[in-house]
């Protein structure tokens, strides 16, 4: 293999030896330190190969041995260079290709992250990029071990990380840290108090002395279950009061909307803009936009990933929709519908810990707008524990 490579680099000639006694030619050539290989007998002579430089001085030995030589082929790099010497561009192109491949292999072009559960991939990519591991990073300049350590120190959720680089492909394996469960201090004496105003429906006290009756009203911060226990002899004992206090609570929220609103309607004009993403460099393939000032766009990125290996190239398609702005006066029904949707969102996100038992809405016109007042009646656990002697000042 190595010898063949050497022969190709030096260039060699394959030739045919014709004559009555070609063995004599072989012996004379070898005596004069000419190297021969692939000596094959066939027909009335033999074929052999010889370095190009040796062949220049072999003619006289051929004459001396009474044989005729005929070149059957010239091979190797010098022949190739001579053949393409007029086509400089081709040689430059080939050289540029080799250099490009070499230079490109010095960069990281694809990063694959596995093992993520709670941490998002974009978050982890940003964290890796901060520590030098990103698409387009210069490989010799990156210390993968220290980068992995930095990532672990930067984000406490990362329990273990390994960065393996194969060629231009970086594989990042992550094991997230399992948080240790929070262990409540069950021995510290505490009271159970109310988190909100409301009316108590039921008290399930595990420990402590109940201070209020079921059905009575409570205000925020009121003592419900006391951690101070008195015995029959008048002695006092402090306990860790714990209870579930189910109470009926009320929430009120107001949502306002102006009667005159700005509405953006699509005109139907859509433009598609293509951008090629090659090695992190974005090259616009098509340009142009919509005729209106207001627009809406959505992006779709297609990245080829053969064998689950993401390539450092992709096509980004951006669709731009033209929008037309117009001022509109909302009717009462339209306003109610919009405001009710806002109220539903409020209920879904703000009252997620409660069970909503009753809800009522009231829409009123208010100084050139609409005001929706939403009242929610909920059931929830209003208890919270507060250590005795650590009462908050409010």
């Amino acid at each position: 293999m190595l010898l063949n490579l050497l022969r190709c680099l030096r260039g060699y000639v394959c030739f045919t030896v014709c004559g009555t006694y070609p063995e004599r030619f072989i012996n004379i050539a070898l005596k004069n330190r000419l190297r021969l290989w692939n000596v094959v007998r066939g027909g009335d002579g033999l074929t052999a190969c010889m370095y190009m430089r040796d062949y220049l001085r072999v003619r006289r030995y051929a004459r001396a041995s009474g044989v005729r030589l005929k070149i059957s082929g010239r091979k190797g790099l010098p022949t190739l260079l001579r053949r393409y010497s007029d086509r400089v561009g081709l040689v430059i192109g080939a050289a540029a290709f080799v250099i490009t491949v070499f230079v490109m292999s010095l960069f990281v072009w694809s990063i694959d992250i596995t093992g993520l559960e709670d941490i998002s991939e974009s978050e982890m990519r940003a964290l890796l990029a901060e520590n030098g591991i990103s698409v387009g990073a210069f490989k010799p300049a990156v210390d993968y071990q220290s980068a992995a350590r930095s990532v672990m120190l930067s984000d406490s959720r990362v329990g273990w990380i390994a960065v393996n680089v194969t060629g231009s492909y970086a594989s990042v394996e992550i094991k997230e840290q399992t948080p240790s469960p929070e262990v409540p201090d069950i021995d510290a004496p505490c009271n159970v108090k109310a988190r909100r105003d409301g009316r108590i429906i039921r008290i399930d006290a595990e420990q402590g002395k109940t201070a209020v009756m079921e059905g009575s009203g409570i205000v925020k911060g009121q003592l419900i279950v006391s951690g101070v226990m008195e015995d029959q002899l008048g002695g006092v004992r402090l306990v860790h009061a714990a209870a579930t206090v189910l109470a009926e609570t009320g929430y009120r929220a107001q949502f306002r909307l102006s009667q005159r609103v700005t509405v953006y309607r699509p005109t139907g004009e859509v433009k598609r803009r293509l951008t090629a993403d090659i090695f992190g460099i974005k090259l616009p393939l098509t340009v142009g936009g919509v005729s209106t000032v207001d627009m809406l766009s959505d992006d779709v990125e297609e990245v080829p990933a053969p064998l689950d290996v993401q390539l450092p190239a992709g096509l980004l398609t951006r669709r731009i929709y033209a929008l037309e702005r117009e001022e509109a006066a909302l009717s009462r029904d339209e306003a109610k519908s919009i405001l009710l949707r806002e109220a539903q969102l409020y209920e879904a996100f703000t009252l997620s810990d409660c069970t909503v038992k009753k809800r009522s809405f009231r829409l009123a016109e208010d100084g050139g707008g609409y005001l929706l007042t939403a009242d929610f009646t909920c059931e929830e656990d209003v208890a919270y524990q507060e250590e005795i002697g650590e009462e908050k000042e409010e």
Binding site: I26, W37, V39, R41, L46
Partner: protein, 87 residues
């Protein structure tokens, strides 16, 4: 030379020094390496005769080739059926 060695040496044939003898190495019957060759006397697909300093080695077989050759050594490959030494 000690006196004890003299009678033994009388019975040994006259040998050339070891470095002058050709070194022949067979790999099965598919390849033979001959070191110490002085030239090729005959080359055909059925028979290759190689001259060495003190003998002529004749390798017979089928599809014989001189795969590699230099001024002191050569490699013959093919299907070797016989090797003969003529002194």
């Amino acid at each position: 030379m000690s006196k004890k060695e003299k009678p033994i040496r009388r019975f040994l044939p006259e040998l050339p020094p070891m470095t002058a003898l050709p070194c022949i190495e067979f790999s099965g019957n598919r390849e033979v390496v001959i070191e110490g060759s002085k030239g090729v006397l005959e080359y055909s697909p059925d028979c290759i005769r190689v001259n060495t300093c003190c003998m002529v080695i004749s390798v017979s077989g089928r599809e014989l080739n001189l795969r590699c050759i230099s001024d002191t050594a050569l490699i013959i490959d093919g299907f070797i059926t016989a090797a003969e030494f003529s002194v």
